[in-house]
């Protein structure tokens, strides 16, 4: 059975977000099936990142409703959404430049424990997370970079660290904003394999421009255009949809696979 037939992990109903008279997200309905990999695609300015920010609480919707496992999470602040099991990565790498890679993962591992409030204890308390942090760094191929400051990691490795941090939160839903953006082919392959490896037991939503990545990972695809949902459906169905081909190539020739 495909996960697409199962219950929804994350849904959005009638989501609207206005920015000073400009409607970035317009009446978006989205159903992300539990355990699926769901890709959001669409041209620049289609509202993908805004939608991400709405789903994770970084923006409050002008109208509409967001549900996680059937519970209303509309308007919750980002830290609450994160604690409910929704982890995200950022489109533009967002790290703590002067802290080591391991510290990033330790901070993520600590966040659910409440240890962060202990101002009267030594920070060595956090060494209890260092073994698990090491495993996660190994998993994303940063095993040798634990002591490197995040600011001095190469671009592709920063993206990998973003992924390690998100995984450290052990999320039910993982939202990845362009996880392969700006990567070389080798790094793209490794990231795709990694996402494929960690999707078990999780729901993954990813914004992705690279259609070959979408093809290799996604069960379902939502195509956004000018803030609206153009098409939503299983990958195989969406890629041959004439409206999608039109939107991506400006004509009905070729297939969406060719589009980047």
């Amino acid at each position: 059975m495909s996960p697409l037939d199962g219950p929804a992990a994350l849904t959005a109903r009638g989501l609207i977000r206005d920015f000073r008279g400009f409607r970035a997200v317009d009446q978006v309905d989205l159903t992300v099936a539990a355990g699926s990999v769901h890709a959001l695609v669409g041209p620049n300015g289609a509202g993908k990142t805004t939608l991400f920010n709405l789903l994770t609480g970084f923006l409050a919707p002008t109208a509409g409703r967001i549900e996680l496992d059937g519970h209303d999470i509309t308007g919750l602040p980002p830290e609450r959404v994160a604690r409910l099991g929704v982890a995200r990565s950022f489109q533009i790498t967002s790290l703590f430049p002067q802290q080591t890679a391991r510290t990033h993962v330790e901070l993520a591992l600590q966040s659910g424990t409440g240890l962060g409030w202990r101002f009267w204890r030594s920070h060595r308390l956090l060494e209890r997370f260092s073994a698990r942090a090491g495993e996660l760094l190994d998993l994303v191929g940063l095993g040798d970079a634990g002591d490197t400051l995040a600011g001095s990691l190469a671009y592709g490795r920063k993206r990998a660290l973003e992924l390690a941090i998100a995984l450290a939160l052990d999320p039910k839903v993982l939202l990845l904003d362009e996880p392969t953006a700006g990567m070389g082919l080798e790094d793209v392959d490794r990231t795709v394999e990694l996402i494929a490896a960690v999707r078990d037991g999780r729901t993954v939503v990813l914004v992705e421009h690279n259609m070959s990545v979408v093809g290799r990972l996604a069960d379902a695809v939502t195509v956004l255009q000018a803030g609206r949902v153009l098409v939503e459906g299983p990958y195989e169905q969406v890629r041959t949809d004439p409206r999608v081909i039109e939107a991506y190539l400006g004509s009905s020739e070729g297939s969406a696979d060719a589009a980047h």
């Binding site: 950022f90 790290l95 703590f96 002067q98 600590q110 240890l115 962060g116 939160l169």
Partner: protein, 320 residues
């Protein structure tokens, strides 16, 4: 050992202990080298500066209203000491707790802003506290100040500031230790993370506002220890303790010593308090002009402050 994240380059452990021992010896010797009353003032202002640095250096929040906490604690400690006859450390502790209690609602509103807006909100509340202190003269003495605050400690005679210094030193040391502990705690790590990238910290599940609020309250408590001690040391609380220039002086001490260095505030306080004393002894009347000039020079020449630059220099040479 990678968790010394607040130090970009690791200093050897022995260097830290050596500095600590030197600092402790200096603190013990201090009232023999200069006027004991001046030495006591240094302790008070050092606590105040370290409290402001806790917020500014580690939380990225510039408070321009810490006089509210310094002053509230000074009045509270003064009143407790005058009316309850308890040992002075209890009065100081009571003052610091009152400052922390006041910081909770102010901080709740202030931490929702950042940058210059945070500074403005804290300044506005501090001005409010100033007008209350000025108007509520039946309690605070208004412009006449709060008179005859006793220095009670189990019947010991502490009227000589030389002995009072040694009675006050443990209390100041505990305040500094608390600040050091906070900075090097799991909480301190999260606070720095929030300072550097609030959006990322929130995406990790850390409620940034609440962390900043706790930092604000803790900072007010440490500032309150300084203010309470100041009241007992002088035996008198003047309206100056809640004046905005007191907030400004605290920030100047931190910038002089070095933002985000913790001990920089101690250095800044020692320097400025001593200088002010020397200048007033010499009959100089434009003290602000001299300290202001030094402030400008330090800001221009030592971007990291005196302590921050000294530490950076030491590190560079120790690696050669």
């Amino acid at each position: 050992m990678t968790s010394l994240l607040l130090q970009r380059v690791r200093t050897p452990r022995w260097a830290g202990w050596l500095l600590l021992a030197a600092g402790a010896l200096l603190a013990l010797w201090l009232p023999n080298g200069l006027y004991p009353a001046v030495a006591v003032d240094m302790l008070c202002w050092a606590l105040f500066a370290v409290a402001i640095d806790l917020l500014l250096g580690y939380g990225g929040l510039l408070s321009f209203g810490h006089a509210a906490f310094w002053g509230t604690s000074a009045y509270t400690a003064g009143l407790i000491a005058a009316h309850l006859g308890v040992p002075f450390p209890v009065a100081v502790l009571g003052g610091a707790l009152a400052a922390a209690a006041l910081a909770a609602p102010i901080g709740y509103l202030a931490v929702k802003r950042s940058g210059i807006y945070f500074a403005m909100v804290t300044l506005a509340f501090a001005q409010l506290v100033y007008f209350v202190a000025n108007g509520w003269s039946s309690v605070t003495g208004g412009e006449n100040g709060l008179q005859s605050v006793p220095r009670e400690l189990f019947g010991l005679d502490l009227s000589d500031p030389y002995y009072f210094y040694y009675a006050a030193l443990p209390m100041a040391a505990l305040g500094l230790l608390l600040a050091w502990r906070i900075v090097h705690s799991p909480f301190g790590r999260v606070l720095v993370a929030i300072r550097d990238n609030p959006a990322r910290a929130r995406a990790l599940g850390y409620p940034a506002h609440r962390y900043k609020l706790l930092a604000f309250v803790l900072s007010a408590f440490v500032a309150g220890l300084g203010g309470g001690l100041f009241a007992v040391a002088h035996g008198f609380v003047s309206l100056d303790v809640v004046h905005w220039t007191t907030s400004g002086k605290g920030v100047v001490l931190v910038v002089l010593g070095g933002i985000g260095t913790l001990w920089g505030g101690v250095v800044g306080a020692a320097l400025v308090v001593n200088l002010e004393d020397q200048l007033s002894q010499a009959g100089f009347t434009l003290i602000g002009l001299v300290t202001g000039g030094i402030f400008v020079l330090v800001v221009l020449l030592f971007r990291r402050g005196l302590w921050g630059s000294a530490v950076a220099l030491l590190r560079r040479y120790s690696r050669l």
